[in-house]
Symmetry: C2
Subunit: 574 residues, 2 copies
Amino acid sequence: PQWIRNPKALRFLVGLLTSMYVLLLTIVSCLISISSAWSSPDLWLAETIFSLLMYLIAILFFMYTYLMIIYPKPINMLIMILNRKTSLVPRPDRWLLSDPIHNGEGAGTLYLRLGAIFFGTLGSVLWGCEIFLCFSGECVHRLVVAKHIAAIIFTFLQMHFIVCNSKITFHRSNILASFGMMHCVAVNLWTWFSMCLVKAQVKKLKKQKKELEYHSSSSSSSDSSSSSEEILEPESSTLLENLIEVVLEKLKPGKGTTYTSTPYPYTNSSNTTSLLRMQSMVRLGDFSSFLLTCLVEYSLIGAAICFIIWKYMGATNIEMKVDKKKKKLRMDCHNTTIGLFLGIFFMTAAFVTIGIYTMLYNKKKTQSADLVIGIVNLILFCVTLLATIFGAWRMRVLQYRLHAHGEVIDEILLIIGLVGELIYCSIGFDMIVNGNRTGSHVPNLPIAVFTFRIIQVIIQAMYILIASRLRCLSEVNARTQPGKQTLTFLVLINITLFVYHTFEGMKSTYGFPALMETKYFELLNISSPLVVFYRFHSSACLAEIWKHAYSTKHHHHSHQTPINSPTSESQHHV
Amino acid sequence: PQWIRNPKALRFLVGLLTSMYVLLLTIVSCLISISSAWSSPDLWLAETIFSLLMYLIAILFFMYTYLMIIYPKPINMLIMILNRKTSLVPRPDRWLLSDPIHNGEGAGTLYLRLGAIFFGTLGSVLWGCEIFLCFSGECVHRLVVAKHIAAIIFTFLQMHFIVCNSKITFHRSNILASFGMMHCVAVNLWTWFSMCLVKAQVKKLKKQKKELEYHSSSSSSSDSSSSSEEILEPESSTLLENLIEVVLEKLKPGKGTTYTSTPYPYTNSSNTTSLLRMQSMVRLGDFSSFLLTCLVEYSLIGAAICFIIWKYMGATNIEMKVDKKKKKLRMDCHNTTIGLFLGIFFMTAAFVTIGIYTMLYNKKKTQSADLVIGIVNLILFCVTLLATIFGAWRMRVLQYRLHAHGEVIDEILLIIGLVGELIYCSIGFDMIVNGNRTGSHVPNLPIAVFTFRIIQVIIQAMYILIASRLRCLSEVNARTQPGKQTLTFLVLINITLFVYHTFEGMKSTYGFPALMETKYFELLNISSPLVVFYRFHSSACLAEIWKHAYSTKHHHHSHQTPINSPTSESQHHV
């Protein structure tokens, strides 16, 4: 027979087509969001329509999934009514949809799904503020509102799908589901990319604002007699808003202006006329940076989960027809209090230093504020490094086992975060080398911070990858639970570092010079949300290990190989 | 026999003495923190020593508890070593301490203990910042550092005790434990009171700052020619800090100054010289208000839990010697997703309006910003009211049962929060009446907001008090779980209101005029943390109901009365 008749070949072909589709769509959409031509007023409408289409297709796919697969009852009822009342549907059994089965591998652990809810909720706040700005008339075009509304609907639908229905089995129309899932991947990647661009834009604006302020203050001090009639020091937020309003004026249709793209935008202030996509970013102040990071994390999680669902879509074992949608939560909190309170101690200390930083910053002591950040970073990385090594040593007595492929998503996301951290640290080292070359003074503290950071990050990633494959099979270990206190401590200190990196992302970039080349600046803006994500996802993975490594209820993999432990008199517990 | 020989009489006497002790101590300490004499430089040292003593006694009590009752092993080991090596302890069995038993009723549900960790951690940040300020030389006296350090140690010890050891049974030296617990109650109440005072002080300072700014700007506009040489508009934070530095200068020993206390401090700017207890409050900005609220909530929880432990200290049933320190967590997440996502929708909408408020506030559109707050308040209260009534209607099929006295603490705290809400709403109504009397324009929106708010608050408190006594005894109800979606929604919307009230506490007081009499101002400052606490504790109680009302594992109270449900074929599950 022809190869196309083979179902495996068909599955491969669908996979190939969808992969090509996602590659093409992602690259095209990212290029559109990066290109200067598409953000000019001529193509502004076209770009908005493109964005709208991206979201609308994803929304349509989710609605199809919900109506046809997850909640088929209304449609089945309609078919039965049509059959009974009219003669339109003579054989309803051919049209009836089957009940949903939640027996897929699923994607995403509990902690990851909680993270999706958290990040998605906070991320949508940014879209909501944007919609408000559009309705209050500060929008370039009416269609932009539709785009933001579509974005918020997409965020909600995807959140619901990830949290409730990630284990659904697509038993018919696999092709459509494959394309839909891959489209979602593309939308998420595109959102991620464009949010990073927005972040870079906002940071650039802030830098220019600072320069302008410096300029105006220096000019006013030099000739104070002439400028005293004018408004001396415009308020920080007002100036930025004025900038935006100028941009908006220029963008209003009918006034075509030319845009110059310069390689070093911080040296040329004519670049402020490039369009700011998210205006609420500037009006909300520092907090918007946090919301943007949330949106970036959310798209990252969404893309990974959609990808995993697509990957294992055809491979679900049809033999296990049982609906294993388990909804009970169980946690064993023995042997955690020491780790918990040690973690809380470090968390409090870190938060206090955030307060100290704020106080010093308000008093304009930028130098010592940066010093505080550096010392705290150094201490936190050292402590985490020691805890990781100690935890690995404590868990040496556990047993190795194969692990389910539903956990692959954790490893993918961990490695994405790891890549971000490595890029971040490498840029840091590069800046130090560059500083040495040009002869400027490079203090020792950043070098130590980056060194400990890179060592800690690598060792922690290895520890997580190994520990997620370990289980507690002997009775003695199940009782003493070696390493659980350390795991609790590591979860808390990673959450602390998550908060700390989020704060750093809002306020300062420690260890980096104020002025750097554009390519480094862009890279830094892409990698800094990943740094935050690495800490979030590390704590997610550690919590998963915390939950499963000591559970006495073993998975089916380990049932075949019970270990003959010395105290196996209570083996019936296993 | 004499009445004093009767153990019950002894217990009553100890209770009486400790009650008197706590009453006296609380009133004296609160008076010290309110009196103007004690905050003058002459008695500054005495007040610090008094505070230090308060914390130190509590710390000593906790250390005694930990060493002698909870972890007696080191002391037992020391006794055995002394017995073996020397002849100091001839009969060690008379001296050996018995093992700890965790069979008390305990105090505090899981959610409440998580809240204690959360509030305690964030609250200690404020102490930590204060310590930093002391070390950086901005402190009145060296001894103040010791006081803050004692406060932070007390916070941590009490947090550990609440979270891990609230079920401990004090089997010997009941008298000492009674006094210690009551001392903790007094310390917590005193902290609560003095934090409310600090909040009032900071708000007063902010108001004066605004008036000064207004004054300086109006004077500069009227005679701009004469004041153009001076610094025109001092930065907002700088001005406040200057105020503090002046105060500090005056307080340095050796410079005695007289203090004038005026009944209406906002009309007289000479009152700025009164001492600010927490200097970090001003330097940290708006966020410090949130930290202070956390500290207030923490002391409230701490006081209630210590009181409950003291109350049931002697009444523990000695017959159940089993150590029922259960540490497994179990949650049933069926029938929650609709409520969850509806709640998330409202949460997102509320957060968006916070963003809108911030944007409008930054553009100085205070009027419309207040309008946004008012409308959102109205919508949230209406929705919550409807959900509460719907939830009560859905839960009508459940059964009533007696409840354990460990839950009394939830009701005490709920009623404290309710009192705060009622005071808050009553002040609001009073302000409206006052506005009508003086003829100023009172809009309808605040009246509607306060009306719906007071109705919602009362109905929700009644709903919680009734629903916490309901259990699901029939099989059908255990399967369908009526009202669980509504409960989930109510938990989320109460968390939303918690965040919203926290935000309001930082930024604005909606519905209240800018100027009011001092007595209302003080009352408002005491009740506004209680409003936040009411929402937090409502969600805690609702989560507890969510967890227990539908559990198939019943408590011992309901074992005797199984209901003959129609579908009792699977009664063995119960």
